[in-house]
């Protein structure tokens, strides 16, 4: 073989690679673009689930982006409260409809007791459900709503949390000591330097974060909860984390942090019976800043 032809043959490798890639792309494009099952497959899978579905069953879809199609076919079996659940722990039976080999996070760690293969794979999972003995949403005062937190739907207690301002602590002590008339004058004077003062001067209990107290919360062996900062636009404009501290009978049991865009679950061991439960949500603003209160979505359940 002459060097020229050897070089030419060597050069042919990347050239052939290009042709191979192009041929692959022609085929792969069509295959991949048609790889998602259509409505017929969903209809069959949905009919199968409907035949065996029982009230109280949870239905989930994987991957997450196919959720609208899943709800199109089985949405009538999914109440809003279920779609906006805190977690899947309290459901004894979970149906997962999955495409492209995906798995829903709700069934992580569980093994299917039933599986129907097909373009839309149906799996049924069973678990010992968490028995809820106490629920923050039914005992706490405040706004219970379905909101977006961590880009997921969550039914929760929505709490407006203004920023804590520890640098004002001494000034607050001073203002607490004087009478109303003097306080008003002082506030007016100081607020020229510290425009945040009028909104920051709140009751003593809420100066170091927003506290929510439930005097008698029935507890079991586990306290499960989750939190997230609601509303994507608020999160864009004010990006600081929110810290959570949960106390039972004034003893801390959970300390965690919710960064923006995340739904943060947590658990703590508890002793059964009625207890005082309180929690604090806290974030700090700096001097001179006037950010709006953060809207924080919190849920807590006591499991037997």
């Amino acid at each position: 073989m002459t060097p020229t032809s050897a070089t030419r043959r060597l050069g042919a490798i990347p050239a052939a690679l290009l042709v191979i890639v192009a041929c692959w792309e022609i085929v792969a494009t069509r295959c991949q673009a048609t790889s998602v099952p259509g409505d017929d497959a969903w209809h069959d899978a949905a009919a199968y689930v409907r035949g065996k579905w029982q009230p109280g069953d949870l239905i989930v879809f994987a991957p997450g982006w196919i959720d609208p199609v899943g709800r199109l076919h089985l949405g009538d079996l999914i109440p809003v409260e279920t779609a906006a659940r805190m977690s899947a722990a309290k459901y004894a039976r979970i149906w997962e409809l999955s495409i492209r080999g995906a798995t829903a996070p709700d069934v992580a760690g569980l093994s299917p007791v039933e599986e129907r293969p097909g373009p839309v794979v149906v799996r049924r999972f069973e678990q010992k459900p968490a028995e809820v003995v106490g629920d923050l949403l039914s005992v706490a005062a405040g706004r219970v709503d379905v909101v977006e937190a961590g880009f997921e739907p969550h039914r929760c207690l929505v709490i407006a949390v203004p920023p804590a301002r520890p640098y004002l602590a001494r000034l607050f002590e001073l203002l607490d000591r004087v009478d109303d008339q003097v306080r008003t004058k002082l506030m007016r004077g100081f607020s020229r330097l510290l425009p945040e003062l009028p909104s920051a001067y709140v009751g003593k209990d809420d100066r170091d974060g927003k506290w929510v107290t439930v005097k008698q919360m029935p507890l079991g062996s586990t306290l499960a909860g989750a939190l997230g900062i609601a509303d994507v636009f608020t999160r864009r404009d004010e990006r600081r984390d929110v810290a959570l501290r949960v106390e039972i009978d004034r003893k801390p049991v959970v300390e965690t942090v919710a960064p923006i865009d995340r739904w943060v679950p947590f658990r703590a061991a508890t002793t059964a019976g009625d207890h005082e439960l309180r929690f604090r949500l806290r974030w700090e603003a700096n001097a001179g800043e006037l950010p709006p209160a953060k809207s924080v979505c919190v849920n807590l359940e006591a499991w037997r």
Binding site: W24, I26, T29, W65, P68, G75, R100, V232, R236
Partner: protein, 541 residues
């Protein structure tokens, strides 16, 4: 020697044919593309601008500062869309006047026509540049690969600036390259750069590419006296470009410095819209450094990408054949100036590839060179089948781009290439699904079919700006008006549509809450990937 078919037709004629074909392709494709949120603003401003020019040129009132402000400016940074230069909007306005008002072409097509024509011009310019540097085969391949860029084809069909600036950016690069051949009057480069400035602010990055190239070429030619290398080009760009720019933008005819400062400040302090990338929602810096790289790798046909790598290598190997004007360096610098800012982590990423599309002509010229090099290399192994092998190799590369382009439309913002796994792969990877509410058009037939004589307002979500146009142009019956914004709008509505983007999930949840159901009546999909959900308020039990 018998002349080839291409020689007989004439290379330039073929280039023009490809340009016309591209324009027709864009115009045909946009028929299926819904109205983008921003388009409505540009269309309305464009008509205003065109009206003003007609009035001014016919000697009517309108050229006083007060009158100009009424059409072109105002106290707020976005009054009369003064945050964007006017060239393309003005062209849209005239296009609408001529094509729609005089010749009855549908209004949307008329507004989108200038962008489509400019995309054709881009194909022609790429063809001509590659023809001068290499030959017909490379020119034709480069032009075809530009024509068959799925996302670029989509953007070219919108009444926006992203495709036009790609053309005018490249036109400036080409004009500069021609200008540095030593000609005495390089006036064209200054004017074309002025047109680019009058198209989109990103043209301000061009001098970085051209400046570096000028210094390198100048130093090679003149050493330390590089400034005198082709000094007339500098004069042309410094004098004719601003003159052209200002001449086309009446808002700059008074308080010029203030108005230019306002224009630039708007873009330097632009709000960061939400954008999904690799599963996360990004709406504030610091953005990942690799956004532009990964997005480009996922939104250009794979064969085109591979061909561009081969082309770059081939180009380097034969660099000695080019003159001192260093076209390879120029194209690299052009692409780098366009895409480079997106590696900083602070440049807004919300428009993804549309913001760095001026990098694509460089990539496609390299791809054209690479594809032809590969074809010739393979063909040389079997000389007896030379033409057949070379032709087949080039054809499969073009076919790959063609298949991707056909697959991508009309929801090209949801499309990703085969390496990403197409639209479903893009969704798996958490790549941005879409923006601008374009896809809403796909649910109009479903709504129309469900319409009754009773008034049933629609929560139109991100399609709200386009809704009036959809109603006016017969896409929907008048009984389905826009219900309004956010919770109040959903509460007043009988139908609700939610356009699927990660940060729009909350609209789904608002609808669930207020309709009492999570079940949509219809889900519009692109290759199986949900892009719009349509809900109907359930009847009260």
């Amino acid at each position: 020697m018998t002349p080839s078919l291409a020689q007989r037709i004439g290379y330039r004629t073929i280039g023009v044919f490809l340009a016309v074909l591209t324009t027709l392709l864009v115009l045909a494709n946009q028929q299926e593309v819904g109205l983008a949120r921003d388009e409505l603003v540009y269309m309305s401003s464009g008509s205003q601008y065109a009206k003003w020019w007609r009035n001014a040129l016919s000697g009517g009132e309108g050229t006083s500062a007060k009158e100009i402000t009424k059409t072109w400016g105002g106290p707020s940074p976005t009054d009369n869309n003064r945050e964007h230069p006017p060239l393309i909007k003005t062209a849209m306005g005239f296009s609408k006047l001529v094509l729609s008002d005089w010749f009855g072409v549908d209004e949307t097509t008329a507004y989108r026509f200038p962008s489509a024509v400019l995309h054709g011009v881009l194909v022609l310019l790429v063809f001509l540049f590659a023809l001068e540097l290499f030959g017909f085969a490379e020119a034709a391949m480069s032009a075809l690969l530009v024509m068959l860029l799925p996302r670029a084809l989509f953007h070219a069909g919108l009444a926006c600036f992203d495709a036009p600036i790609m053309t005018l950016w490249f036109a400036t690069v080409y004009a500069y390259w021609k200008a540095i051949d030593g000609r005495k009057w390089p006036w064209l480069v200054g004017i074309v750069f002025g047109l680019a400035l009058a198209t989109k602010h990103t043209a301000l990055l061009l001098p970085i590419a051209l400046g570096v190239h000028y210094v390198v070429a100048g130093v090679r030619d003149r050493g330390l006296g590089f400034l005198g290398y082709r000094w007339r080009v500098i004069v042309s760009m410094l004098v004719l470009a601003p003159l052209t720019f200002v001449a086309l933008w009446p808002w700059l005819w008074f308080d010029t410095v203030d108005h230019v400062r306002d224009w630039l400040t708007f873009h330097l302090t632009h709000v960061h819209y939400n954008f999904e990338y690799l599963g996360d929602n990004w709406n504030a810096p610091a953005f990942p450094w690799h956004v532009a790289l990964v997005t480009t790798l996922f939104t250009v046909p794979v064969a085109t990408l591979v061909a561009s790598v081969l082309g770059a290598c081939s180009w380097i190997a034969q660099r000695a054949r080019f003159d001192g004007r260093m076209p390879g360096l120029l194209l690299v610098l052009s692409a780098a100036a366009s895409i480079g800012p997106f590696f900083l982590g602070s440049t807004p990423i919300f428009g993804a590839e549309k913001h760095w599309m001026p990098a694509l002509p460089s990539l496609c010229i390299a791809a054209g060179v690479g594809a032809v090099w590969a074809a010739r290399t393979l063909a040389s192994l079997v000389p007896s089948l030379h033409k057949a092998i070379a032709g087949t190799a080039c054809t499969v590369v073009v076919l790959a781009a063609l298949v991707e382009t056909i697959t991508a439309q009309p929801y090209a913002l949801t499309w990703y290439n085969a390496a990403a796994g197409e639209a479903p792969g893009g969704a798996d990877r958490g790549m941005n699904r879409q923006f601008w509410g374009v896809a809403a058009r796909g649910v109009l037939p479903v709504l129309k079919q469900d319409a009754t004589a009773k008034k049933t307002p629609v929560y139109t979500h991100d399609a709200a700006p386009a809704w009036g146009t959809y109603l006016r142009r017969g896409g929907l019956p008048a009984t389905m008006p826009d219900a309004g914004h956010e919770e109040a709008g959903i509460t007043a509505s009988q139908y609700a549509l939610v356009i699927h983007e990660k940060h729009f999930n909350r609209h789904d949840y608002l609808v669930w809450k207020l309709y009492g159901t999570v079940q949509p009546m219809f889900v519009l999909r692109s290759h199986g990937v949900p892009i719009v959900s349509l809900y109907k308020r359930p009847k009260k039990p």
